[in-house]
């Protein structure tokens, strides 16, 4: 395997008496990608990220960024790495312009007024740049957090659950921003428990569960490997239709009154449709749905994920 921007080998973090927050994980991240570590709450995502950010000491294993061992010399990486911590909250009584200037000062960076304005424009905070931070919305606060993490123009950006708790519009705004950051050549390490977020943004996904990486690949690869590709949805068809379909030897499941018929091989699609059309159904709608990371996660972990919590 080629040498990556981040290389993690046998990394573990244990807490007494017997908690394995991170359990012997290894992975490599290539530059200029969005890498997403996906998993439910407590999977070990933040612990892994904080080890890479030099904020926690691993129990065992190695982690290097740009070839530098993060446990030994993280300080030499500060100028090349940007960080948005989990649940970021800006300092309440500073305006975004002041917060940017303050943070730049802590990196020994002198920013002119126009540089500050340009950074805030990049994260779409121009209109709110003179408002005291406590008055900003949740999405605006995260945007400010991203602005702060970009002050040192990092080559690698850690975003730890950047959209948790935000409304759909604010999430979409941040997704656009993250894509733009990647386009400028920055490598993004994104942790999230939103499957759609990882699927939408990531080039490379690692699904983490109980401290271990249980699957790794691009969203398309993961769906191909662990998903059932395409599903025919018979909306509102109900249990009677399910019985009839199964009587004809077709595999199907019921979910909230909908009957789902998985199509493992696309060439079988026509034949399955023909069989179904022979049944008298009372479906509101019939359509096909491509499988997503959500289905992959369900197949791998055996549970669904709702706001980071596992639901059977």
């Amino acid at each position: 395997m080629s040498e990556g921007l981040i290389q993690v080998e046998g990394l573990s973090k244990h807490y007494p008496p017997n908690v394995k927050a991170v359990d012997d994980i290894s992975f490599t991240i290539q530059p200029r990608q969005i890498f997403s570590m996906l998993g439910p709450n407590g999977a070990g995502k933040t612990t892994t990220v904080e080890i890479l950010e030099g904020l926690r000491t691993p129990t065992s294993g190695t982690a290097t960024i740009f070839g530098v061992d993060v446990t030994k010399d993280y300080s030499s990486l500060r100028d090349r790495v940007g960080i948005l911590p989990q649940s970021f909250e800006p300092f309440d009584n500073l305006k975004p312009t002041e917060a940017v200037q303050y943070w730049a000062g802590l990196y020994d960076i002198k920013m002119t007024k126009s540089q500050v304005n340009s950074l805030l424009e990049r994260v779409d905070l121009t209109e709110r740049k003179s408002v005291i931070s406590r008055s900003l919305s949740g999405g605006e606060k995260r945007k400010l957090g991203i602005a702060l993490s970009l002050i040192n123009e990092p080559e690698l950006l850690f975003l730890d659950e950047p959209t948790t708790g935000l409304d759909p519009k604010a999430r979409r705004d941040l997704w656009r921003l993250i894509e733009e950051i990647r386009k400028k050549g920055t490598t993004v390490f994104l942790t999230t428990h939103y499957l759609d977020e990882a699927e939408k943004l990531a080039d490379d996904v690692a699904i983490m569960h109980k401290g271990k990486i249980v699957a790794r690949g691009s969203p398309r690869d993961l769906i191909a490997r662990y998903g059932k590709m395409t599903v025919i949805v018979l909306s509102g068809a109900g249990s009677e239709a399910l019985r009839e379909i199964r009587r004809r030897g077709i595999e199907a499941t019921e979910e909230n009154g909908d009957v789902l018929v998985p199509v493992k091989d696309p060439t079988e699609m026509r034949a399955i449709f023909q069989k179904i059309s022979g049944i008298e159904l009372h479906a509101k709608d019939i359509y096909t749905r491509r499988q997503s990371l959500e289905d992959v996660f369900l197949n791998l972990v055996g549970a669904k994920m709702d706001e980071g919590d596992l639901k059977p």
């Binding site: 904080e50 030099g54 904020l55 926690r56 500060r78 911590p85 009584n93 500073l94 917060a99 802590l106």
Partner: protein, 366 residues
Amino acid sequence: MSRILADIKGFGRQYLRSKVGAFFTFAFPILLILLFGAIYSASGNQKVSLPVQNLDGSPFSVAYLNELNNTTLVNIKMIPADANITNYINDNSLSLALQIPANFGSKIAGGLGSNYTGPVLVTVYGDRSQSTFGTAVAAVEAASVSYNYNLSRTLPLVAPGVQDLKEGYKFLDYFLPGVVGITVMTNSLFSMSSICAEYRQRGFFKLLATTSLRKYEWLISKFVFFSIILVLSLLTTFAVASVVFGTHSTITLLSLVMIPAGTFLFVSLGMLLGVGIKDPESGAAVANAIGFPMMFLSGSFFPLDMMPNFLQAIATALPLTYFNNGLRDTMVYGNTGSAIANLLVVVAIGFIFFLLASRLMSWKER
């Protein structure tokens, strides 16, 4: 150095924009001075109200009441002679009363003749725990001594003379350094313990750990910021006390050195307390548990020698005592040697707290 300045500027903006910070730095000491100044500037001229029941009514008792009035310590109000004095005291919620007995005149007349059977007793009813009781007894004793001289026609051979050690100085001059001490402690100790807890809870420490700012630089910036605003607070408080109450205590060069020294001590103590505190509520509780008793036992509000011996012994173990004493030494007594000794104690204790805090405090997770 530039990181320290950036942190002073950024943190300073946040602190001064918070209503709590601005209140405790500037409004709190001025409020204390105005309140205590108003209370104590009036108390010097206040007379104690003394209800008197005269059961005698002879010229002797009237003359005695005149002597009592001449002390200028009491305002005499008469209780009806036919009232039961204990019932009257209860019914009127009195804390003081004086009773002149019915045989006052006849007994004095007998004593002036050849039938002396001992002094006639005037009785002060009151509560010994109240300061007004002491004033009333002193007035009755002074009136009795003067009355005895006049009746026996002897000349006083000894009389007390009073010389002010500090001409023109008022209680407020002694109180002012205490207010400064409280302000320095409140701002530094209470703020730092709460800030440490808040920074830990909201992840600000982790955030700071990712920047180029070092832990010692953060500690220095807090010390410098609080020193600057507390010197400004001292100047403002003194200006108000001087203009409103005409105080005479002076801001010396040494007092301006004492402020950063006290700030260093209490910022360090606040950080030390903040090491183990997880949330701001606990931070405030712990700082209050330590700071509040210290406020009262360190001579901020009243002199230490008014307290029982065991509390005076406790006071010697409290750092605020040395800070208050040092400020009074230089600002009121002009005793530079003693002020420097207290300053050294403050710096030494502060240095111990600083070393412990910087060693134990961690911005990272274990």
